[in-house]
């Protein structure tokens, strides 16, 4: 990409990001209502498409992994992986899921349990509703989510390492369709769309995370922090926390954050596992693992025919589009850290390991919430039922029910903080790379500029409380990006067919 094209990409993305941010600030109600209406119109017309898409992506990835193409390496034959397998998985995981793990670990299974057509609202008994709730949560967070990330990372990585293309979401289209007159233009539009979606999506997460950290601190200290000062201080600390690793060399900053996150998350999980009802957790993990695999096709093809679709729109469809709006930066980031991995290794590890971890995570934390409803005092389910707009506190409620909450609560706050920093760091790096010719090493100045832009949008949201507007934008931008993602995949399939036709990979 030439320098003027790179500048065009940078400035147009900035303008689009600013337009949505200003609209959200000036008239949040109009932004929220209009964008959600359009998102719901899309869901209403294309739910059959969105819900089944992960199955199609999974079919493509597995066919590649177990064919001659599985042996293709991301890089030359003698390229060695840049990061250890543990660090690679840790970075994949924290960049891809991040803070959502703690936001939704308890809340999401509880919502499905209470409100989904396969839960209590659908007439199921408590035990069946509980099992279904975890399997639905895992459809939203497990194999489908990781399939979307994996396919995006693989496509960008393949073109970067095999065709010397830039680390840009638009590169596969530009390179793979270089024989088409529209290839280059569409590639540029993809990059613009991707940069804006990534900036807004992460800003929304940062804003949400600020409230989470504040909630956590209030619960640990047993005191309230009214007013905006505390939120803005948290945001300022967060800004420093994600900007410093972003300008350190990738190997140091991100590797440290990735490893740190996983160690803290596993510690919290292990604590809950040991001090909670361990035998129940073991039964729940096995049951959820089985249902996650068995229910993949039934859920992926269930359009809740002729049923009321409020829950279906709110959760499975919106979550899948939400993942797609994250792929511009997770795809670039995953591609960047996966040098030296074979397609088979990449596909199998990047889908199965995070999913397995999530099965355990949701079974333990979500399972605890369900148990609290079925045989306990129903405080957690009662809270989720009565506070549909702030279900996130349910995670803290699980920790509060266990011993030494002062310590685990503090760990929870650190976990949110570091998870958010990791997502924001990887996003700032990816945005910087995207808007600078897709260079392999992100230029520090652009990384800082994007870091500042993200914190400005997040602070504006914290001040005006318009998080929902930015979230609406992120999902809204995910819809057109979905079509570009499909074109990227087509370009990739076309390219490997061309490059390896008739020869052993």
């Amino acid at each position: 990409m030439k320098k003027n094209e790179s500048n065009l990409l940078f400035y147009v993305s900035l303008v689009i990001t600013a337009v949505f941010a200003i609209w959200g600030l000036v008239n949040p109600q109009s932004l929220t209502t209009n964008l959600w209406k359009w998102v719901y119109d899309f869901h209403g017309t294309f739910n059959w498409f969105t819900i089944s898409l992960p199955l199609v992506f999974l079919g493509i990835l597995l066919s590649l992994a177990f064919s001659k193409y599985g042996k293709i390496k991301l890089g030359s034959e003698d390229t060695k992986p840049e990061f250890s397998t543990f660090s690679w998985i840790a970075m994949l995981f924290t960049a891809g899921i991040g803070v959502g793990l703690v936001n939704f670990g308890v809340a999401e299974p509880m919502v499905h349990y209470l409100h989904s057509p396969k839960g209590l609202a659908g007439g199921y008994d408590q035990i069946e509703a509980g099992k279904n709730a975890l399997s639905l949560a895992l459809y939203n967070w497990g194999i489908p989510a990781w399939t979307i990330y994996a396919i995006s990372g693989l496509v960008i990585g393949y073109f970067a390492y095999h065709r010397n293309a830039s680390f840009l979401p638009g590169s596969p289209i530009e390179e793979g369709f270089r024989d088409k007159p529209w290839g280059k233009k569409l590639g540029l539009i993809t990059n613009i769309m991707a940069s804006s979606a990534a900036a807004l999506t992460v800003s929304a997460s940062i804003g949400l995370g600020v409230f989470q950290v504040k909630n956590g601190l209030e619960a640990i200290l047993g005191t309230e922090f009214p007013g905006l000062t505390s939120s803005l201080i948290i945001l300022a600390v967060l800004f420093v926390g994600y900007t410093i690793p972003a300008i350190l060399p990738l190997g140091r900053g991100m590797k440290f954050l990735g490893d740190f996150n996983i160690v803290i998350a596993i510690s919290l999980l292990a604590f809950t596992f040991v001090f909670g009802p361990t035998r129940f957790f073991m039964e729940m993990i096995l049951s959820t693992l089985g249902k996650t695999i068995i229910d993949l096709v039934p859920i992926g093809t269930n359009t809740f025919l002729l049923q009321e679709k409020g829950w279906f729109n709110d959760w499975p469809l919106t979550t899948l589009i939400w993942w797609i709006s994250w792929t511009p930066f997770t795809g670039v980031f995953i591609a960047r850290i996966s040098k030296g991995r074979t397609i088979k290794e990449f596909v199998l590890a990047s889908i199965s390991i995070p999913t397995l971890f999530l099965v355990i995570w949701f079974s333990v934390f979500g399972g605890f919430g369900l148990l609290n409803d079925i045989v306990g005092d129903q405080t957690i389910s009662g809270y989720v039922l009565n506070n549909p707009n702030d279900v996130y506190l349910s995670f803290i409620m699980v920790l509060q029910a266990l011993p030494i909450f002062k310590i685990t609560g503090a760990i929870f706050v650190v976990l949110i903080f570091v998870f958010l920093s990791t997502s924001a760091t990887s996003s700032a790096i990816a945005l910087s790379m995207m808007t600078n010719n897709g260079s392999e090493n992100a230029p520090k100045m652009r990384t800082i500029i994007w870091s500042v832009i993200m914190v400005v949008i997040a602070s504006a949201n914290v001040v005006t409380g318009t998080l929902n507007g930015v979230k609406a934008v992120a999902v809204f931008l995910g819809i057109p990006y979905l079509f570009f993602l499909i074109l990227q995949i087509s370009a990739f399939l076309r390219e490997i067919r061309r490059e390896f036709s008739g020869k052993e990979a």
Binding site: T32, T33, W36, K37, Y40, D41, G44, T45, F46, F49, V111, F177, R178, D179, K180, P181, A204, E308, K309, G310, N313, D314, W315, T318, T319, W322, P388, N389, D390, V391, N468, K471, A472, A474, V475, F483, I486, L487, S490, A491, L493, R494, R497, R498, S501
Partner: protein, 72 residues
């Protein structure tokens, strides 16, 4: 992202006007067309891809030639 989405815009099929129904049908046909187009792109015969690549290169070459003559 989810809490505000409790607002539901679900519209019963029977309440749809003729115009809305036609628009929806067109959108679905366009989506199916997009899927078919992608399959066609993937399955394009290899020889055809190379021929188009040459064509694009030739067009690019001509443009560059024009620019350089104009510059001269």
């Amino acid at each position: 992202m989810k809490e505000i989405t409790r607002l539901t815009y679900e519209k019963g099929l029977m309440e749809m006007s003729r115009g809305e129904s036609i628009l929806q049908a067109l959108a679905i046909i366009a989506m199916i067309g997009f899927i078919i187009w992608n399959i066609k792109l993937i399955m394009e015969p290899l020889a055809e891809i190379e021929v188009s690549e040459d064509k694009v290169e030739k067009i690019k070459g001509k443009k560059e030639l024009k620019v350089s003559s104009a510059e001269i």
